[in-house]
């Protein structure tokens, strides 16, 4: 009997470890021989812990499991109270285009054999037969853009590093996924770590870099453990090292742990942190592509960008580019989170609307109350009201609605949310996490909290001051922390003016 159960942090947080223990105990007691494979998560977090049992080669799902549901797994499965049917046939799975996450939740994350059997390393082998320029051209053709938030064309960035002349170049993976509502990086690192390793190796071959680093936030201990182990396994198998897959070409990498600073998700402050300095933002230029880690040409890419590279090389750039909308090519990994009935990760071609994501896929709020707002793109993203839900999710399309796609996290709020407090929190968070280098962010965020407090106490005139302050932060900050904090603040003020005015009436 073959049973699958995620070892993903979200599954664990919902009780997967006790389910695993109960399955082992029950099997032992009944004298049934089982193989329990610990996988990543499929991304249907509302069904976790999701047990899968292989029946005639098809994986049937059971979830969300309680310990008391475990004994019935060894009886008539069709009658199991948590039976969901074949997992691949579930609506949530069927409607997706899983390219980057094709293996996540399916394979044992630390089995290189499993990885190979599901198409792994095909892309790297193909890249090994190409020149650096051909590799960069392939990425350009795919239309892949930075999935971390900025949406910069990945191929152009690689070209700059490729063309730079230096004795040492680097690939740095930004795994400092600090945005609330986002967990795609964590999920892929825990569920399919070799795809990130393979993507970084291809990047290294493309631009002529022989060393790579993953800067991984300390808040993700499970991801750190899986990635560290995966790098060791890949090195032992000759995927990494002085002779990548017997090609005579070198690429090796290390996992580095962050230390709890949100601003280190900004690429230049990440590089300073990686060098062992304070995570203070650097002025650009020089671009990291020319003077990055230790002053050398460096590709800094997000986890999902790099983890998508293998499938582009496996299936071909055009195959990937054929998905999408406008200038947003390929797939977007939506993370539907917060106050939502069905939360999780949903990978689909760009172009799906907010309404479909939140109301159809997500099933509305968890509390059952009306949806009031969705914050798209993390703590620096705008709060969008229901009236903007027709917005298709694409970089330019969301920009036109005054939003920011960011890392494609959607945090849903019901009508009980206090939008003035959410605006205040955005400023408070910026004040806590500011690196301190530039004044609009360092001082502005503190003044922002004070100004919103004045509005809360009924000082309507302070609204103009807040608007002006946001303008200053937006125009005058060195990086996106100070520069984008005005998005949640101003969107809350613009779309939910009652939350700011009601306070005034209360005071009068």
């Amino acid at each position: 009997m073959k049973i699958y159960l995620p070892r993903d942090a979200a599954a664990k947080a919902l009780g997967a470890e006790s389910i695993a223990a109960a399955i082992q105990a029950e099997a032992t007691q009944r004298g049934i021989d089982i193989t329990l494979v610990r996988t990543g998560t499929r991304g249907m977090i509302w069904l976790e812990p999701l047990v899968e049992v292989e029946i005639d080669g098809i994986r049937h799902g059971f979830g969300p499991m309680l310990e008391s549901d475990v004994p019935a797994l060894f009886d008539d499965l069709a009658a199991h109270p948590r039976a969901l049917g074949p997992v691949d046939e579930l609506d949530w799975m069927k409607r997706q285009t899983r390219l980057t996450f094709a293996r996540c939740g399916v394979i044992d994350p630390l089995s290189l054999d499993d990885y190979r059997a599901h198409g792994g390393l095909t892309g790297l082998r193909r890249a090994l037969d190409m020149t650096g320029q051909q590799i960069v051209d392939e990425v350009k053709t795919s239309g892949l853009r930075g999935r971390g938030g900025a949406g910069f064309p990945t191929g152009i960035k690689w070209q700059t590093v490729h063309d730079a002349d230096a004795p040492q170049k680097y690939i740095v993976c930004n795994a400092d996924e600090g945005d609330s509502g986002t967990f795609a990086d964590r999920m892929i690192m825990e569920g399919d770590p070799f795809t990130l390793i393979e993507g970084m190796a291809i990047a290294g071959l493309g631009v002529g870099a022989t060393r790579g680093y993953v800067y991984l936030r300390s808040e993700y201990p499970d991801a750190i453990a899986v990635m560290t182990r995966a790098v060791d396994i890949a090195r032992a198998a000759g995927v990494l090292g002085a002779d990548v897959l017997g090609s005579g070409r070198a690429f090796d990498m290390e996992i580095r742990t962050g230390a709890g600073a949100y601003v280190c998700g900004e690429e230049t402050s990440l590089l300073n942190s990686l060098e062992g300095k304070r995570g203070v933002v650097r002025a650009k230029p020089p671009l990291p592509a020319l003077e990055g880690f230790l002053g050398r040409p460096t590709v800094v890419n997000n986890v999902i960008s790099l983890a998508t590279v293998p499938v582009i090389f496996e299936k071909g750039a055009q195959y990937y580019a054929d998905f999408g909308l406008g200038r947003s090519r390929g797939t977007v990994t939506l993370q539907i989170a917060g106050n939502v009935k069905r939360g999780g990760l949903f990978e689909t071609a760009f172009g799906i609307t907010l309404d479909e994501a939140v109301n159809d896929l997500g099933g509305g709020t968890a509390t059952g109350r009306p949806v009031m707002a969705v914050q798209v793109g993390g703590p620096l993203g705008a709060y969008l009201p229901v009236s903007k839900f027709d917005a298709p999710l694409g970089y330019e399309e969301l920009d036109a609605k005054g939003g920011l796609l960011g890392h494609a996290g959607l945090v849903v709020f019901d009508d009980q949310a206090d939008m003035l407090q959410m605006a205040r929190f955005a400023m408070e968070f910026c004040a806590i996490e500011s690196c301190g280098k530039c004044t609009p962010c360092r001082i502005g965020a503190v003044r922002g909290v004070e100004t919103i407090d004045r509005i809360a106490q009924g000082d309507g005139a302070a609204i103009e001051l807040l608007t002006d302050l946001c303008e200053t932060m937006k125009e005058g900050s060195l990086c996106a922390l100070g520069g984008f904090t005005p998005f949640p603040v101003m969107s809350a003020l613009t779309h939910f003016p009652d939350a700011f005015a009601r306070q005034k009436e209360a005071a009068e």
Partner: protein
């Protein structure tokens, strides 16, 4: 870095451990963060006494090393309580009542963010996202993650460990 009063360790123990950690890690590219993490893993905090040892070996100014330690939220100047509870304060958790949960925890423990109970049993920390946003609110009790956390489950874990 936390603002608790700085703690110290015995000089010979400090020197032996710091020397060992430095010898092991100083060859890395950008070795300072791995060294600080290793010191914290060893002592439960980063002793200020280690600053001159690190700056000598890495050829950095003492102020520079101290500045790096103080920049990052993770590094402590004194040991944490026996249990560490980290509560996510970020938006997704707020949308599911995280603020209320945090307030109840603070009231129950009688401490604020970054503080340790007087008996040294529990340290309460704010964290900004554990990546459990689809099963909010999220809490971490030592190594255990909790999704859809509530007071009952937090208390069960705390009591479970006390037995």
């Amino acid at each position: 870095m936390r603002t608790d009063a700085a703690a110290t360790v015995a000089e010979d123990q400090l020197k032996t451990s710091t020397d060992r950690i430095l010898s092991e890690l100083e060859g890395l590219e950008g070795p300072l963060l791995p060294i600080l993490h290793a010191l914290q893993a060893e002592f439960g905090f980063v002793p200020q006494q280690a600053v001159p040892l690190i700056s000598d070996r890495l050829n950095l100014g003492r102020a520079e090393v101290a500045g790096v330690i103080s920049f990052y939220h993770d590094f402590r100047a004194a040991p944490a309580g026996r249990r560490v509870i980290r509560v996510c304060r970020a938006e997704a958790c707020q949308s599911m009542g995280g603020t209320d949960l945090a307030q109840r925890l603070q009231d129950k423990l009688g401490i604020g963010w970054g503080e340790t109970t007087p008996d040294g049993s529990v340290t309460l920390e704010a964290v900004y996202c554990l990546g459990l946003c689809a099963c909010a609110p999220a809490v971490q009790v030592d190594g255990d993650l909790l999704g859809r956390a509530d007071m009952d489950r937090i208390e069960t874990i705390l009591e479970g460990a006390a037995q």
